[in-house]
């Protein structure tokens, strides 16, 4: 540990930034996810090493997105570091709103970042945000319930198998629901799942001329399949369940399967929070034999807004929080299962980390996601569970509300798709496509 400290200090000294006189207070906006809350608890380590203080602004995901987008768009300069995702990074980078992270010291080892993550957070080969943790999506399932249903989960199942298993596992009298999926409206909630799942069914958001495709049979099949499945084998209130709600249900042992972010694996296998910690198995997100799996790619990453007065200190923080040493620090305090996953190749080469039950499946899922070529038919956009254009968040949230209403039984699949088609066309026209 001492060696690492010195190495970091050495790096600072070269840049002549670590003189105590220049100690800064950084304001960092972040999301209230478990890994970030853990990072907050470890801030002292950063302060000890660099002398800089940190003030945290920890917000719920939706509030965070609204705040940081507002601030960066209006150039408010309230934050020195923002926690953003793979969707925002290239768009903001293109606007020159972010400081490029292309001069990180050799000890940081940028090449060690998983190529998928690095690609998604770069624009024209320049890294604009450093991944704090990365994820794909996969199936988490209850091994005991699967056995009880007389089935065996393959490593790479089809949607047909998953739907069948979900119906067999469901036991509503005992509050066991075969499958928990996102239903809460939002571009980062149900639309992340449905866009990715649509890919597996051959659906796509736009054709090569940027025409919305919600009137296609593939979307109808995707949405009908999803709604039928959740109605038969999903929990009550599925249309208001997001990641957190489903996590809570799974931890309480009420879900047979759950297809969601790979980072959830460490929460559902943590005996302190989960009643089913020792009965969880993992598999790749399902496909339909068309060659695309519905697994997405996402990273929560740290970025520096252009124009901050504290750029140097902010870079030091990002170096600290996304470094190999940070992973070791967490491992030494909380165990390897709790380190932020999905960012560094070296982590997956570490024999200690290989013992973690979900490590391999997480890496396989991340590696099988393909943002540049996400769909069966060709598309003009990048992104598995999103479309990397500025209008997407607004459009997808509204589309998500229509789909959520269809799931709640307030309108038919056809009505929801027709409305989605209309409003997407409206918004795209307004944006000048």
């Amino acid at each position: 540990m001492a060696f690492h400290t010195r190495a970091l200090l050495g790096a600072c000294a070269v840049a002549a930034l670590c003189v105590p006189a220049t100690a800064e207070t950084l304001t960092i906006a972040t999301v209230n996810n478990g890994d970030m809350i853990r990072m907050q608890g470890l801030t002292q380590d950063f302060t000890d090493k660099t002398g800089h203080d940190v003030e945290w602004v920890t917000l719920e995901e939706n509030v965070l997105r609204q705040r940081v987008t507002q601030d960066i768009a209006a150039k408010g300069g309230q934050f020195d570091i923002m926690t953003i995702g793979m969707y925002e990074t290239p768009i903001w980078g293109k606007q020159d709103w972010l400081v490029a992270l292309d001069d990180l010291p050799a000890s940081y080892d940028t090449d060690d970042i998983l190529p998928a993550m690095r690609g998604g957070l770069s624009l024209d080969g320049k890294l604009y945000a450093a991944p704090f943790y990365g994820e794909s999506s996969m199936i988490m399932y209850r091994t005991d319930l699967m056995e009880k249903a007389g089935l065996e989960m393959p490593d790479a199942p089809t949607w047909e198998f998953v739907a069948d298993a979900a119906r067999k596992m469901t036991d509503k009298d005992n509050e066991i629901y075969g499958i928990c999926l996102r239903g809460k409206a939002g571009w980062g909630e149900n639309m992340a799942f449905l866009t990715a799942t649509g890919n597996a069914f051959g659906a796509r958001w736009f054709d090569m001329d940027w025409k919305p495709q919600f009137d296609s049979p593939q979307w109808k099949e995707t949405l009908s399949f999803y709604i039928d499945l959740l109605n038969e084998a999903g929990p009550p209130g599925a249309s208001t369940n997001g990641f957190n709600e489903n996590l809570s249900l799974f931890q309480q042992g009420k879900c047979g399967m759950w297809i969601d972010a790979t980072v959830a694996a460490s929460f559902v296998t943590n005996p302190a929070d989960s009643t089913v910690a020792d009965k969880v198995g993992f598999a790749l997100a399902p496909d339909t034999g068309l060659g695309k799996r519905g697994n997405w790619l996402w990273a929560w990453a740290l970025a520096i807004p252009a124009g901050t007065q504290k750029e140097a200190a902010a870079k030091q923080f990002i170096e600290w929080a996304t470094s190999k040493e940070y992973l070791e620090l967490v491992a030494s305090k909380e165990g390897w299962a709790n380190v932020p996953p999905g960012t560094r190749t070296s982590l997956y080469e570490n024999p200690e980390y290989a013992k973690v039950p979900f490590a391999k499946m997480t890496l396989d899922s991340i590696n099988s996601a393909d943002p540049t070529n996400p769909t069966v038919d060709p598309v003009p956009y990048i992104g598995v569970q999103f479309v990397a254009i500025p209008e997407f968040a607004g459009i997808a949230t509204q589309v998500g509300q229509e789909f959520s209403a269809a799931l709640a039984g307030q309108q038919t699949v056809d009505e929801a798709l027709a409305k989605a088609q209309t409003l997407t066309a409206e918004e795209m026209e307004a944006a000048g496509y």
Binding site: N62, Q66, T69, Q70, A73, A74, I91, Q95, E175, K184, A185, G186, P235, P236, G237, S239, T240, S248, L249, Q252, K254, P390, E391, A393, G394, I395, T397, Q398, G400, Q401, S404, A405, L407, A408, Q410, K419, T422, L423, E426, E427, A430, A431
Partner: protein, 288 residues
Amino acid sequence: MATQHSRSAARIMMAPAVVLLLGWMLIPLTMTLYFSFKKFLPLRGGDLGWVGFDNYVRFVSSSAFWPSVQTTLIIVGGVLVITVMLGVLLAILLDQPLWGQGIVRILVIAPFFVMPTVSALVWKNMFMDPVNGLFAHLWKFFGAQPVEWLSDAPLFSIILIVSWQWLPFATLILLTAIQSLDSEQLEASEMDGAPPLARFGFIILPHLSRAITIVVLIQTIFLLAVFAEIFVTTQGSFGTRTLTYLIFQRVLESQNVGLGSAGGVYAIILANIVAIFLMRIVGKNLDS
């Protein structure tokens, strides 16, 4: 009666409040009007030039506009009806002689002190959650299928939450008004053998009309701006998108400042229609 001197003194005394509010009204209003005639997309480079009334046309012709006006009116109207009706009943109840009146009043008043975000979070998670919520347990206890409140009865749920927060306010104002009612008048009518319902209809209710107008006026102002309750519970899904929320989506989620500003101007117009309507009544009531 008032001298010229005191008149000009009065004007000077009023000046700070008037000037400040004028500024608070005009500066944002002017800026909003300015943006509303622009194609202003921060994520696409910001100011993309003048577009005339494009934003206004687009905002009203969007499929979401009229439903959102309707939702706004339903929520405001629903909450007003519930709080006024229950408020009158509660006020009459609390006016009766009873033991521990002070404590009951404390209990009734309490929701008013709870910040909207907290009350929305508590209701959403701990009461209306279809699996772990208290209502779900209650329904199951009686052998019924738990209700999925926020998706099956979304407007009702939001009206319930907001009404819970505003009921204390209505109750307190109405209670003060009832307490000012001449009790001799009431007793006299009681002696005359007037049935309770008639007493309520002919003496209490007319006496309360002024207080009810005030409650309606003040609450409407706050209810038109209801935001946190929707943001926390449904995020505008299931037909709970009010005009305020629609503007929020345009400005913040789609980052279309021009379009959102046009929506803001519509919202100001709507608010002022409601305001003029209300103030006619209140103005009349205040003069009497």
